[in-house]
Amino acid sequence: MNETFKTRAMAWLRARLPIDAAVDFAQHKQVPAYHGSVWYYFGGISLFLFIVQVISGILLIMYYQPGVATGYESVRFIVVHVKFGWLVRSVHTWSANLMIFSVFVHMFSVYFTKAYRKPRELTWFTGLVLLGLCMGFGFSGYLLPWNTLAYFATKVGTAISATTPFIGPTILQILRGGSEVGAETLTRFFGLHVAVMPAIFTVMLGTHLMLVQIQGMHEPHEWEGAPESQKKYMPFFPNFILRDLLLWLIVLNVLAILAVMFPWEIGHKADPGAAAPMGIKPEWYFLFMYQALKYFPGKILGLDGDAVGVMLFGAAGLLWALVPIWDSRLPRGSRNRIVTYIGIFVVIAIIVLTGIGLT
């Protein structure tokens, strides 16, 4: 009976979708198995955490009410009165942080394994856009509970954008919706967080995943020119998928422990008239930039120090994004160490500056 139903269902689908092609693709897709295979899983972990974000975000939006008079109160209501609301909110916040961490690790693994090289440049570019969107999600979502820390951190964060030469004031105006962080800022951050960015993210993620499937996993450079017998692979389905699932379960456990044992505090409602509390800092993933800006003098060659810093960060980010282009033009080819050294320097700089910022 069941067999008959399954056969019939597959036949119904075959008549409408290229099922056989998809099954055939999954059965034949191979994933390189070597000492660096572990880095492949961070893409999957990021995807899993994104799914958690979507589900927990949808649950939160059922009760969250954007607005200066309602934002904080509705988050309090979720945490105190809604069944498992505290868990959903805590999971959403922890998952956001873990996702950004995971995406960073994923990006650096791609960078150091030089997996961005031809033909995967587009995968690299879409991945960077996804990283930027993740940070945008973090920045916009941080303000939504409308608590003191979020308010002043957003004030500082948006003020930094104002130092961008020429267009800084316009960016500030667009971000805040006025001269100060207020009701307009909150509603537009909410709109960005739940509508604009998810839409762009979905398209970019779809493109990114499609490119990964089309191009397959990047193989290590050591395999170039090596005989096929020396290359090891594992089937994408079910081996790689099951390993991915195994990691997802571990991450789920870690997430549950963090959410229950270290629930994210709501803090006090934002009071724009109050003095900023001591030690206001942006979220940890912005901290390296914030900390670095502190080391710029007030004036550099007659220009505002912060503005120069923002320009340098912009230029460095652009160079980082364009690594597939300039790396291919370097003479040493696949064993190019300059790229690796730059990457090591960036990782160390980020860790050190974040560490200083946190302490």
Binding site: V80, L242, L249
Partner: protein
């Protein structure tokens, strides 16, 4: 050397030539007498001018001050035109009122010499100018100045009972302006003008009227020349300074000996709840001496008026007391209402211990612990009701605190607990009706809030452990699935190797 010895009078005249007549004359306290040469006085006195006749007994004339020292002119000239010529500095018969403090200040103002030091006349004119009277004079030429209080040509020493500023006259002197509504309207329309009338009714005023110079007069509290506005913290009658000002006399056992009243009021007051609030916390709403005794009409509140006096601030308590069973028996025994239980000057923060039969209780002063006595049973019952709210609040606080320590959000319950405090305040007011039913009505809403808060605290603590148990179970299940999945992967990979 002795041949050139200058006669003291000549010496004084020489100084007068160089430093001015007034200062020269006033610089001779030891042998003070009328000036040798004062043609103004001589002529006007001979002519029977009332001012000159009066001036003959004036303390200034007797100490060598001449007419010209105030009016200007040259007192050495017997020619009227020469003596009263503007060239000689003659100011005229009538001196502008606003100029008077300046003229008096020549001798009674800043600067010093032996005479001033000896007679404490260094800065009275300046003090007058710095105070409210000086300000009034600057704003209105009709304002008060030296002669308003001391008189003009017939000025006598303050210590002279005839002086308008002597203890026997000063109140009336102040009242010439301060009881004149029309006159005062030009300076401060909001200032009451009944001080004098009230003073006459006060114990101070009655004793003063009997010729007793010791009771307080206006200047005893407000000062004399340097008078500040009552709302000026420098004023001795500014709210926080009143107790100290009253205490200057009332805490002086020797000074008060003849009146046979206690002198420890200030000592008690400064340690009292009212005193601490006013003197240490500068809470201007806290009562000072005058809040209960009155100021200008100061008198000890009689036994029957104590409740009304306390009721000025503690209105609800007073209203309940007036309808209570205690009103009549207290009145019969001439007991002063509130003070019977709470005390007066040394009043302390009332606690629930006042109710009951403990050592500190107030009830026990009159009632005996007797189970057959209805009042005694009610007292015990009321104390139990108060204790139930107090203890219930402590228990709920502990529960909420426990939940908070565990990191749970109990802000709503904590907020609601404020209603318990409100109920306790209302209960402590309601007890002044001395009816168990009134107290119970006030306490029951608090008990209901307590029950809800305690429940919320309990639930939060329970929720805390439930979350951890849930985490343990879910982690266990996920871990189990993970292990099974791991075994499955190994199995698949082993099969593939085979």
């Amino acid at each position: 050397m002795s041949a050139f010895r200058i006669h003291p009078l000549l010496s004084r005249l020489l100084v007068a030539c160089s430093a001015g007549a007034a200062l020269a004359v006033l610089a001779t306290p030891a042998s003070a007498k009328p000036a040798a040469v004062d043609q103004c006085y001589n002529c006007h006195h001979e002519g029977g001018t009332p001012q000159a006749i009066a001036f003959a007994k004036d303390i200034h004339y007797l100490n060598g001050v001449t007419c010209a020292d105030c009016h200007g002119g040259d007192p050495t000239k017997d020619d009227q035109d020469a003596a009263m010529s503007p060239a000689a500095g003659y100011r005229g018969k009538k001196i502008r009122k606003s100029d008077i403090p300046v003229i008096c200040g020549k001798c009674h103002g800043a600067g010093s010499n032996d005479f001033k030091r000896e007679n404490h006349l260094t800065d009275v004119a300046d003090s007058l100018s710095a105070g409210v009277h000086g300000e009034a004079l600057r704003n209105n030429d009709n304002g008060p100045q030296c002669v308003s209080c001391h008189g003009v040509h017939n000025i006598v020493a303050v210590s002279d009972p005839a002086s308008p500023v002597s203890p026997g006259h000063v109140v009336k002197t102040c009242a010439t302006c301060h009881a004149d509504a029309k006159y005062m309207h030009d300076f401060n329309p909001r200032l009451p003008v009944d001080q004098y009338a009230m003073y006459l009714t006060s114990v101070h005023g009655q004793l003063n009227a009997q010729g007793d110079p010791k009771p307080a007069t206006c200047v005893s509290c407000h000062s004399n020349h340097l008078i500040y506005h009552v709302k000026d913290p420098r004023s001795p009658v500014y709210a926080t300074r009143i107790p100290e000002t009253c205490a200057r006399c009332h805490s002086n056992a020797r000074y008060m000996a003849q009146y046979h009243i206690p002198t420890d009021q200030f000592a008690q007051y400064r340690r009292s709840r009212h005193g601490i609030a006013l003197l240490e916390r500068s809470d201007l709403n806290a009562p000072a001496c005058n809040s209960c005794h009155g100021n200008h009409g100061a008198a000890p509140p009689g036994a029957m008026s104590v409740v009304a006096v306390c009721g000025n601030c503690h209105q609800a308590n007073a209203e309940l007391f007036q309808k209570s069973v205690h009103k009549e028996p207290f009145a019969k025994r001439n007991l002063g209402g509130c003070v019977v239980c709470h005390g007066n000057h040394g009043i302390q923060e009332p606690t629930d211990a006042l109710v009951g039969f403990d050592e500190r209780s107030a009830c026990g002063k009159c009632h005996k612990r007797d189970a057959s006595d209805t009042a005694a049973r009610d007292i015990t019952h009321m104390r139990a009701l108060l204790d139930s709210l107090q203890q219930g609040q402590q228990a709920a606080d502990r529960e909420i605190d426990h939940a908070e320590q565990l990191g749970m959000d109990v802000a709503d319950a904590k907020y609601d607990l404020r209603d318990v405090h409100q109920a306790l305040v209302q209960a402590r007011v309601a007890i002044h009706s001395f009816k168990v039913s009134d107290l119970a009505d006030a306490i029951h809403p608090g008990i209901a809030v307590l029950a809800a808060a305690e429940k919320a605290g309990n639930e939060a603590v329970h929720d805390y452990y439930f979350r951890r148990q849930g985490l343990a179970v879910s982690t266990l299940i996920v871990t189990l699935v993970t292990v099974l999945l791991y075994l499955k992967i190994r199995e698949i990979e082993k099969e593939k190797k085979k």
